[in-house]
């Protein structure tokens, strides 16, 4: 369970101060999949990064499983983070460690004794069907396989929450389906709460129970994905739901049209 209350984050950008996330409330029930969608710069990435305090909110409260994270000291926060898995757009695997060693790193961080680590690594890699690639370095894996190793790494410490920051934005459409299938399976089988940030409506439609639509640092709308027809109220939601790429007339075409008319 995650509850963000009134979280705000300001940055000093090149064009002066910028409110990346503006007084957002978000409640994610235990075991659900929460999508967060929006264009680049909408604040969705900052929002998800506030859940494990990679970005510390300027104001507001971050509750994970009933525990307030913003008031934790460094050591407690560190321990808390071992129970919040995270996967990234660029996978962020260590290139000089094998798939197995990457997963094991999470366990070493959590202070697990060596004796139990091997079994846990095998277990985590088995969840993403990569047990046979434990000895492979990331450079020998495909993009989809790298993301699956990253998912295994995020799961190794049996977290209650999995944060996914654009997990499918660096892989092709077929691999996107594979990655989403694993995430869905993890959510259903292990009951892990998932928050997934993306700019693709199809990604959240495939997996989320609820989608928070973000624009200019605010959640402007929630779309329930319970099978009933979607009724977007905002223009941005309608735009995001429209999967056709409408380019509109180019300048050249417009000029031609004008000549013909004139």
């Amino acid at each position: 369970m995650i509850t963000l209350t009134g979280v705000t984050k300001r940055f000093t950008g090149p064009d002066g101060p910028l409110t990346a996330v503006d007084n957002v409330d978000l409640h994610v029930p235990r075991g659900s999949v929460q999508g967060v969608i929006g264009f680049s710069g909408a604040g969705k990435s900052t929002l998800i990064r506030m859940i494990n305090l990679l970005e510390r909110p300027d104001t507001g409260s971050v509750l994970v499983d009933g525990e307030e994270l913003t008031t934790l000291d460094e050591e407690s926060l560190r321990r808390r983070r071992t129970k919040i898995g995270m996967v990234f757009q660029q996978f962020n695997l260590l290139e000089n460690l094998t798939a197995g060693q990457n997963v094991e790193l999470a366990l070493r961080v959590a202070g697990l004794p060596k004796a139990v680590r091997a079994a846990r690594v095998a277990e985590a890699l088995a969840v993403v069907d990569l047990a046979d690639r434990a000895g492979s370095y990331p450079s020998k894996l495909s993009g989809g396989q790298k993301q699956r190793v990253a998912i295994a790494r995020a799961l190794a410490n049996e977290p209650s929450v999995l944060l996914c920051d654009e997990p499918t934005s660096a892989v092709d459409p077929r691999t996107t389906i594979t990655v989403l299938r694993y995430l869905k399976e993890i959510n259903e089988r292990l009951g892990i709460t998932i928050v997934l940030v993306t700019h693709e409506m199809n990604v959240v439609k495939a997996i989320a129970d609820d989608v928070a639509v973000m624009e200019d640092g605010k959640v402007v709308e929630h779309l329930r994905l319970d099978g009933s027809p979607l009724q977007p109220r905002t223009e941005i939601s309608r735009f995001l739901l429209d999967d056709e790429l409408r380019l509109g007339p180019t300048d050249v075409a417009a000029a031609k049209e004008a000549r013909r008319a004139g």
């Binding site: 494990n52 983070r81 000089n96 961080v109 959590a110």
Partner: protein, 226 residues
């Protein structure tokens, strides 16, 4: 007996040349470990303390950064001379192979620190962020993530440092540092024994090639990116 004795002289001076090679070896053996032991932490410190770093400490960063630049601004010959009092304090004398290792080490530390810092800056910030998200402490992030990912680049930097070292050690001959570079200067420049100098230079070329080869192989073994 100055003058050009031809390549026959090479046989005569062979023992001396081998001794000079041994001195170079000694200088490398003493200085390189010192450089690594001091420069890697110094490089890590700059990486950690830099603005936007893992634990920014602007003032500390400024001090270390400026010190590294200060040492690097000295032409090595000037550093060598300027450091004589300190050398005398540490080694007890300011001449000889052992004495020369002091300025050599100081110089190597400064250069290698900067190399290390640059190597660390090449490590993907995403990987560091993943470690933070995992719950890794700063110490763990440095040991198990940062240095692991930078390892191949660090091996490359150490190789560059050892090679440039052989050139610096030649200048150290001015204070009786010895070594193969000094040997080449003494015979080639002061005694006009061109053949001996050429031989010494050939030995140095072989030496540098060997060090570079060993370095390249090490980097290749450590680097898992390809």
């Amino acid at each position: 007996m100055p003058g050009d004795g031809g390549f026959a002289r090479v046989i005569d001076v062979l023992p001396e040349m081998l001794a000079a090679l041994g001195e170079t070896g000694l200088m490398v053996l003493i200085t390189v470990p010192i450089a690594i032991v001091v420069a890697v932490p110094a490089g890590v410190l700059m990486w950690v303390a830099r603005p936007g770093g893992l634990r920014p400490a602007p003032r500390l960063y400024l001090v270390v950064n400026a010190t590294v630049n200060l040492v690097r601004s000295f032409p090595f010959l000037v550093l060598l001379i300027a450091m004589i009092p300190i050398t005398r304090l540490i080694v007890g004398t300011s001449v000889g192979t052992l004495a020369v290792t002091v300025p050599l080490a100081v110089n190597a530390v400064a250069y290698l620190s900067r190399f290390v810092e640059q190597n660390l800056l090449q490590v993907s910030p995403g990987v560091i962020e993943a470690a933070t998200a995992m719950g890794a402490s700063k110490r763990r992030t440095i040991w198990s993530v940062l240095l692991v990912e930078a390892r191949p680049a660090l091996a490359g930097s150490v190789t560059i440092m050892i090679v440039s070292f052989i050139s610096y050690s030649a200048i150290a001959g001015l204070v009786g540092g010895g070594g193969i570079g000094d040997f080449a200067i003494r015979y080639g420049y002061y005694r006009y024994e061109t053949a001996v100098m050429i031989t010494a230079v050939l030995v140095m070329i072989a030496l540098v090639q060997l060090i570079q080869l060993a370095g390249t192989l090490t980097v290749r073994r450590l680097d898992k990116r390809l």
